[in-house]
Symmetry: C2
Subunit: 382 residues, 2 copies
């Protein structure tokens, strides 16, 4: 497949946005990325979004964004794979450029979740689970992750407190990110005493319902604009059973592992080559499982990396370097693009206080459902 390059990036602060609508947030991010790239308007628009049709009563968000941004008479397509919609849209743009059909594309990931009352947003999020086998029986999305975490703790003998460092690390990094939802550090004490949501998941295990948009301009050619050139050297998508109950091994993200292995093979690289890993820490259990699936820890040993401090931005395998889903925030359809934007900023050494030490290769992994739809990318600083 032809190589594709990241020409520019943009992001809005992740927040509870009362002054900007979904299209304004997505538009702001898109215009920032176009400005950052400096190559004019791209050939086409791709939008990653999960729940505009329920949370904002708007289908064909890509068409609305093409209209709002002035992509007159250009292609615009929305892509949806629940919480991995952002990276899935990025992958579709990648394919369309690699095919020769497009020279360039704007990819926007956007979600505005806070316009819906609490029950409605919980119902919207539950559509990421299997309707017939899970959601119809009253399982919420956090409930599913709670079952998974409980089983993992039982299998491997971990205590709840052993997961604290995932969230502490995320908040510590987010403290330096002006685009993060939560910019204050947390402590083992505040982790321990935060309100219970769905036992054993408490508030500090969980990423927040948020509004936000991030965007990337992709190009068939490297763009010389004084910054490090960043290319996409691997893209891999894999699915697992939608319902947790049908998995052969419930405490392992099999599709995430398969997808990571395929990405490493495409790039000719291995986990030790990665300078950072933007992982999908929607819940602290997902942080542990992601590290294991991507080859950084043996099964059941993810929490040890956090306990040992190896996930810090200046350590072995930096994760959530700008706050991750936990502290930057998790506007679901936007998250995959936030991850890719942050990986790009790291590789271009534009990451400020949490700049990683080896900005050569970055791994990003976006997870839809409870490990059901995985999109993995590897970026390279040329």
């Amino acid at each position: 497949m032809n190589k594709v390059y990241i020409a520019g990036v943009g992001q809005t602060p992740v927040s509870e946005s009362w002054d900007k609508s979904l299209k304004e947030l997505a538009g702001d991010a898109g215009l920032m990325a176009i400005d950052d790239a400096g190559i004019g308007y791209p050939d086409a628009l791709f939008v990653g979004n999960m729940m505009a049709i329920t949370a904002n009563r708007q289908a064909q968000l890509a068409t609305l964004m093409a209209d709002w941004l002035g992509f007159h008479q250009k292609p615009a397509i929305s892509i949806e794979t629940a919480c991995s919609s952002g990276a899935a849209a990025f992958r579709m743009a990648l394919m369309s450029i690699a095919s020769g059909e497009l020279e360039s594309a704007l990819v926007i990931g956007a979600e505005k979740m806070t316009d819906s009352p609490g029950n409605e947003i919980t119902a919207s999020l539950a559509t990421a689970a299997d309707a017939e086998l899970e959601a119809d029986f009253g399982l919420s999305f956090v409930g599913l992750n709670a079952l998974l975490m409980r089983r993992y703790m039982y299998e491997y003998g971990w205590e709840h407190a052993n997961f604290a460092n995932f969230s502490i690390n995320a908040h510590a990094n987010a403290a330096h990110n002006p685009y993060a939802r939560f910019q204050q550090p947390i402590t083992p004490e505040s982790f321990k005493h935060s309100p219970m949501i769905s036992d054993p998941i408490n508030l500090m295990d969980a990423s927040p319902v948020s509004d936000g948009a991030a965007a990337i301009v992709l190009s068939a050619r490297p763009i010389q604009n004084g910054r490090k050139i960043v290319s996409v050297i691997a893209s891999s998508a894999m699915t697992d059973t939608l319902s947790l109950q049908n998995r052969k091994v419930g405490t392992k993200l099999t599709a995430a592992e398969t997808s990571a292995k395929a990405a490493y093979a495409q790039a000719g690289l291995s986990p030790v080559d990665m300078g950072l890993f933007e992982y999908h820490d929607a819940f602290s259990i997902m942080a542990a499982l992601s590290l294991e699936a991507a080859g950084f820890a043996d099964p059941g040993q993810g929490p040890q990396l956090a306990i040992d401090g190896k996930i810090k931005f200046d350590s072995d395998i930096p994760v959530a370097t700008m706050g991750g889903l936990k502290a930057r925030g998790h506007p679901v359809g936007a998250t995959g693009i936030y991850q890719l934007v942050e990986a790009t900023l790291q590789l271009q050494q534009r990451a400020g206080a949490t700049q990683v030490r080896r900005p050569k290769y970055a791994l990003t992994q976006n997870i839809g459902g409870s490990g059901s739809n995985i999109i993995t990318h590897i970026l390279q600083a040329e």
Copy 2:
């Protein structure tokens, strides 16, 4: 761009389905296409769908279908552009194969609309309009098309009865299609006296809310299985303003025209070369506007083609050869794939009683919103 081939097709009857769920309908169509292609399981799955998240409480439908069909550890992505979601998914599969990433792909278009009460499905359909500028003020989707039809009749001096032959032709063709929702002919009298929905649109101007799924296997290589080889020689996507009120010319589908012209240019062909046109006759006004946009009639002259009988399956420009949206039915996210399946059957001379006379090139055009997101393809019998 590398040429891509249609290896197999499948479709379920369009109906009000009480005995099959969305995933069963989509699965049936997918398995039929896999069986028709005879090349085993494709490399990846693409799903076109608009409203599973509202009508069936299920996001990431592609993941569910990969799970249901046994696409273990393979990529699966959902694509949404309102009523053109089917053709948009087809286009994304096309790009992914043309890029070299995939050798083959299964594309399913699926929608199950009849599980929702009347008000809910009307609300779901209204999300295809601009939420802030149209739907929030109470405009339903049929209401928007009624405004468009009223203006068109005023501008060009047509009477309502002048649109009858679009629907009469669709029903006449559907009478020979066992997969069509309505297999009985209609007359000028029944057209005239059908119940009013939104003046001037009556029941016989409108395509029915339906359940259905259709599927296609695409391949990087021509498949020799005793049938005519069909290839995709043009794919073009274009957008217009989402709201009708922002169009410079309200009575013209500008993006459909631009998209058709781009497709003709890619194929090196013109309207007279087309042996059939599977158009997007969601309403009879859309039938007229589509014929004009695709170059078969001058602005305002679409109805004359129907009046003169030139749209019949054995005449100049056969349309809706198996019933179209009007009589085969319009399960929105599935429609674009039904169009491509029917075009393929025509080019392979598998169309039975309504077989067209020149099965060499087929034009398909799928329209999302009120002419907002257009996906055009040209297929060729090799």
